[in-house]
């Protein structure tokens, strides 16, 4: 898979959202997701709810609380999980037609990927398979970059920075 860069997608008071953009592409993965569905009548309302949930709720009100995300192997996804791990409380979101994959790093830092319409029981099947696998690939590469100290997480400021000090955060 191609190298990619991490870019800021939305800077809000409680959380900074990053996205990934493949080096040879114009749009980030998250913009591609929203562009794909925003004008489709079937998904217009869901897209609007998801964008507002990310920005207005997580970004400006609560921060990225862990229970507002679902676990998807090494990555995460929105909307909120079908099961709270600590309390066994199940919040079924199977009727919400879309999944947006991401990596929640802390309450202040989230990296959003791409997603699609959910049309199967498991994320590893149906439409979501490709995006689930890609999200896990991105998450693994980002994990490696953190372990190898190629990128630095600044939890206090809710920022990701490049070790070389440059603004461009490239992951190979």
């Amino acid at each position: 898979m191609n190298s990619f860069v991490l870019e800021i997608w939305a800077e809000e008071s409680k959380c900074r959202f990053y996205t990934v953009r493949k080096l040879d592409e114009e749009f980030s993965e998250t913009d591609k997701f929203f562009l794909k569905f925003k004008d489709e009548p079937k998904f217009k309302r869901s897209i609007s709810e998801l964008a507002n949930f990310i920005v207005k709720y997580i970004g400006q009100k609560t921060g990225a609380l862990s229970y507002l995300f679902r676990f998807e192997n090494k990555a995460h996804a929105l909307p909120p999980p079908s099961k709270y791990t600590f309390s066994q409380l199940e919040i079924k979101t199977k009727d919400f037609p879309l999944r947006l994959y991401c990596l929640r790093i802390s309450n202040e830092i989230v990296i959003l990927f791409n997603g699609t319409e959910k049309n199967s029981q498991k994320a590893q099947e149906g439409n979501t398979k490709k995006f689930f696998e890609e999200a896990n690939y991105f998450a693994s590469k980002i994990d490696e970059a953190i372990i190898n100290k190629e990128i630095i997480l600044n939890f206090k400021e809710g920022k990701i920075t490049s070790t070389n000090g440059g603004n461009k955060i490239e992951i190979n």
Binding site: E49, N52, E90, I91
Partner: protein
């Protein structure tokens, strides 16, 4: 800073979607916090309410509308308010014109209080007394 695509979607959002998202998020967070605080599991809550755990799940889903009855049952079981409906109360200050105040109360844990209302240096002050 925001992506242009995101900003376009936010600018195009109807007010009712904004309200829905905030209320949905608040209910999920509120129920989650209360269950954690009180050591309830989904199973415990379902048992005490005579419901199947899956029904509690549906109640907390953004696609299954919580009825007023369901919310009230959840409030009763958890012993705390989940949503508050403000009341309007006309108040006559000791030294000024009467005004209307919006009052938020928690039905399950409110205690009676007396409020003394007056004006001080153009600013309204409210003194609370037990």
């Amino acid at each position: 800073m925001r992506s242009k695509v995101l900003q376009e979607i936010l600018d195009d959002t109807p007010k009712e979607v904004e309200i829905f998202v905030e209320m949905y998020g608040d209910i999920v967070v509120r129920v989650h916090e209360l269950m954690e605080e009180k050591g309830f599991s989904q199973k415990d809550l379902a048992q005490s309410m005579g419901k199947k755990p899956s029904e509690i799940s549906k109640w907390l889903s953004g696609n299954h509308n919580l009825t007023l009855r369901s919310l009230v049952k959840l409030e009763a079981e958890l012993g705390e308010s989940i949503i508050n409906v403000p009341s309007r109360k006309k108040i006559k200050p000791l030294d000024g014109e009467s005004f209307v105040m919006t009052v938020h109360s928690n039905f399950t844990s409110t205690t009676n209080r007396t409020f003394e209302v007056g004006k001080h240096s153009e600013k309204l002050f409210i003194k609370m007394a037990n």
